[in-house]
Amino acid sequence: MNFINDIKDGFRRRRLWKRLAELELKSRYQGTFIGVFWVILTLMLKVGMLSLIYSMVLDKDIKEYVLFLAIGVLTWNFISAAIINSSSIFIKAGNFLQQMKLPHSIFVFQNIYKESIILFLYQLFAIPLVLFIKGVDFVSMVWLWSLLGYGIIILNAFFASMWLGWLSVRFRDVQPLLSSVVMILFLVTPVLWPPPEKFADSLYFVLNPFFHLLELIRAPILTNEIPYMSFIVSTAFLLINILICALFYNKVKDRLVLWL
């Protein structure tokens, strides 16, 4: 099937998209002294300020809350960046796509790899933070489930940004729409606040795939639990994203370059 070949060929060209992703990150912080480490500093500032204020607002113990917040915010940052950037991945690659035949997935890989580098940098802050607050004994084998969780999140981001990227090129309304949608999702998803016990079973949370994506990481690390329900929902979400891409690939592949 052509769709699978596109991804295989795209993956094979990893020297190219790795380099393009690194160049994109470097140019973002061009001329700065600490360069790419601004990513960690920005997260630290965000988590620091938010945990001070929101631990008061939510009346929670700051030591517990800052861990909840840090892990939630960094995972959310990855998800929202992948979604919002997807609207421009093919537009930015317009020059290349109009010069030579290239697998579309190269630019999806570029975007996801770039965001994954940032996600990795976040861990350089998050993991020492957890160890500092909870001590080394807190580490457990259950944490390995969060690695699987990150895998599912990254795969979801890959396929979602592919079809969102196509959609954004064809229908230019999608780009501004995505920014608003992501903002609203941030406000209604338990990122800054845990779901209140009274409403824990509310459909607003249970049916929100982003809540489950966050729980894939939070549950194993913070409460030593394996979030089976969240794994099921996230995998179903992944299958839907793959299906959308597979269904539309053939229609889009020859026409994308014309919409750029």
Partner: protein
């Protein structure tokens, strides 16, 4: 053995309409513009073809169709041989990147091995004679230096079919002569060159045949001088 055959090719562009009109006027919706109609062409081994035609005639569309970047709505395109396309004046990937790094990325775009990229860059550096300037950002280059780097990018690959669209700005006289020698060496009898440019001297140096296109159709395909005269008569 390179060859290009176009058989009854038709193609329309689609574009978003202009953002003219008042602030509250919608500019959604795709418009369509016929670029190639019933296009028939056969180009053989050893042909070095100039693409002539006024602006909007369909030259770039033809090149993109041959390169496989766009797929015709009707008809078919058959190319035998590897294609190296170089379109547009964009010298490289990123202006804040050095000439050297831009060449490396172009090599990656062409899917060359690291070893081939390194050795090609050595040849390119020697040919373009840019020296230490190669390590400065492209944004600091003069037009002439950019022209040399652009030409250097052409030197990456021994493709069977070379497609160039307005990508060669004129460098200085010394460089132009060097470039001509290079192109002649590169294009032995088993290669094809198709070159669109508005510079008759450049075309004359590199091409033996020419195609005149108008309104998306072939008007004439033949020896360079013959077609060039026809083009000049019609202007």
């Amino acid at each position: 053995m390179a060859q290009i055959i176009l058989n009854n090719v038709s193609f329309s562009y689609q574009y978003f309409q202009s953002i003219s009109g008042g602030l509250f006027k919608s500019n959604a919706g795709l418009q369509s513009n016929l670029a190639l109609t019933g296009f028939n062409l056969t180009i053989e081994n050893g042909d070095r073809v100039a693409l002539l035609g006024k602006n909007g005639a369909g030259k770039s569309t033809l090149l993109k169709t041959i390169a496989g970047v766009i797929k015709p709505e009707l008809g078919e395109v058959n190319t035998t041989g590897t294609v190296y396309s170089f379109f547009g004046r964009n010298v490289g990937v990123m202006p804040q990147l050095s000439g050297y790094e831009n060449l490396k990325v172009r090599g990656l775009l062409l899917d060359l091995s690291d070893k081939k990229i390194e050795s090609s860059i050595k040849d390119i550096a020697a040919f373009t004679e840019l020296g230490d300037d190669l390590f400065r950002p492209v944004s600091t280059y003069s037009q002439g230096m950019k022209a040399r780097l652009t030409f250097g990018m052409l030197m990456f690959v021994d493709a069977d079919i070379l497609l160039i669209d307005e990508g060669l700005a004129a460098g200085d006289q010394f460089f132009i002569e060097k470039a001509q020698v290079f192109v002649e060496d590169l294009l032995d009898n088993s290669k094809i060159l198709i070159f669109a440019s508005h510079s008759p001297p450049l075309l004359r140096r590199f091409c033996t045949k020419a195609i005149l296109i108008d309104n998306g159709c072939v008007v004439k395909f033949g020896e360079f001088d013959e077609v060039m005269n026809l083009y000049n008569q019609n202007i």
